[in-house]
Amino acid sequence: MNEISIAARDVILAFVDDEHLMGQQHTEWIGVAPFLEEDLAFASIGQDELGHAAMLLEALVGTDDADIDALAFYREASQWRSCALVEVTLPEWSDTLLRHWLYDAAEELRWQLFQGSSVQLLADISVRALSEERFHRQHGDALLDVLLRVDDAHDRIMASLHKVLPLALTMFDGAPSEADALVEGVISGSLISLLGDWQQRVDHRFGPVDWDQIVRPVLSQRKERHDDFAPLLARMLEVLDLDRTVTW
């Protein structure tokens, strides 16, 4: 295993936490999606995202489940590096579908930053993740292809787009040591460098967005948490916190 620098750890954790919480949010829809095939799709995509988080965590702490879980779950809120998009609770299906599409459109670009990484393991993981992400994007697109053609559904989707877009911009907030990770060759570009490509994807999918009208989030180098984070983490820790020393 390559030695992981502090900067590399920082950018990896930002991706770990986004993947972990995105997978977690998807699990909330298993069984209550609009129809059975969607229950299955969200179960599958949720597993993939959690699996990506687990693979990245292995790069940091090795393969032992206890070590992976300690880093995945047992950090103070200020030590998490997730973005607001994956922390927020979205009880509406249209908002969830939009988050799924917007996240995956960026996720593909984010994995590409790891493709030539100086940390070989990250480059290897990105190959597998990118092959899975292709299906995630196809899933979101297939639904939107149909829903955007029907008036009522179109209106709901577009309302959700404008609701979720400000949150989605938090994905491009870089971790504190991102600049160092760039110099070390861990990543081939910053998160903010992906924004233009991602905006083009959004415009192509939904029609031109007046980006100047989208409220820009306050960026904190991923050090601040959305209000929904605390109850989300409490739910994830409900069993673990019965006794953090035991095996389940």
């Binding site: 298993i30 209550v32 229950d39 179960a43 489940d65 069993v239």
Partner: protein
Amino acid sequence: MVLCMSRSWSSIDDFEAFLNNGGIVESDDSMPDEYRLAVFRFIELHANSEQMGGLTERDWIPRTPGLRHKMAVIAKTQDEFGHAHLLYMVAADMRIKTRREMVEDLYAGKSRFHNVFHYRAKTWGHQVAIAFLVDAAALASQQAVFKNCSYGPYRRILKRIISEEGFHMRLGEDRMMRIAQGTEMQREMFQQAIDDWWWPALQLFGPDSKPNDMLLRWHIKSERNEVLRDRWVQKFVPMLQSYGFTIPDPGLRFDDDEDRWVAGPIDWAPLKKTFANVGPDSARRISEASAHWEESAWVRQALAANKTVNELVQA
């Protein structure tokens, strides 16, 4: 080119002779109406139970302790919904109800699902007990149907379902062993789960089969309820006791002469309540599922306007 011919029988006696000779019925056969309805109801009950079982388990997915542990639990629940998906298609092929009608009847409280899913999983221990005790009971029933099932499409689907349920049972067993070897808190939690789920799991097999049980006569089931129930008792009583857990059956005894465990009297009243959808958690389970279904109606309506996806959703 293969030419498929629909078969028919001149009388119920001819049909039963066909079944007794090991005949397998296919969906395009002109089967007797009584048989078609009996098979359909059986598969619909199975499909509904996979669906409601998935809903029971989903409540605990977000709280699963551990990242890769959570992935395993999601995979299990995905299997359960996948089974429902397959079974609804097999049932819909019998042309009595569409999949949508079956799901809407389920969420309207008009159709049945297995008794165990009228109970709520209240702790992580309950979640493990479901994977361990309930999945084992369901698997035993499914294996008995698969062994000699006369309806071909169901039998073929059961082969896959049984294979996956075997993994679920092993997952439950593995989790049970971790808890059994854990702390006093963990063991108390699981003992409580056994106390809460032992009887519902045992009642899953149903009361003793009637002498004229048509499901047995038509080779849909191959073993009597009491035989399956007893086999489950013989397996799980010694296994749980070997890990130091107790069985919440004051009438349970070991018959030295017969060299087997004998369960105490079974109170069937709780099972009968679930038949009427008035079990301990029936109202919440059905109303929540119904509310989610209603809230997402706009998605299905939009998709219904599209021919290619429409077939998938409407079937």
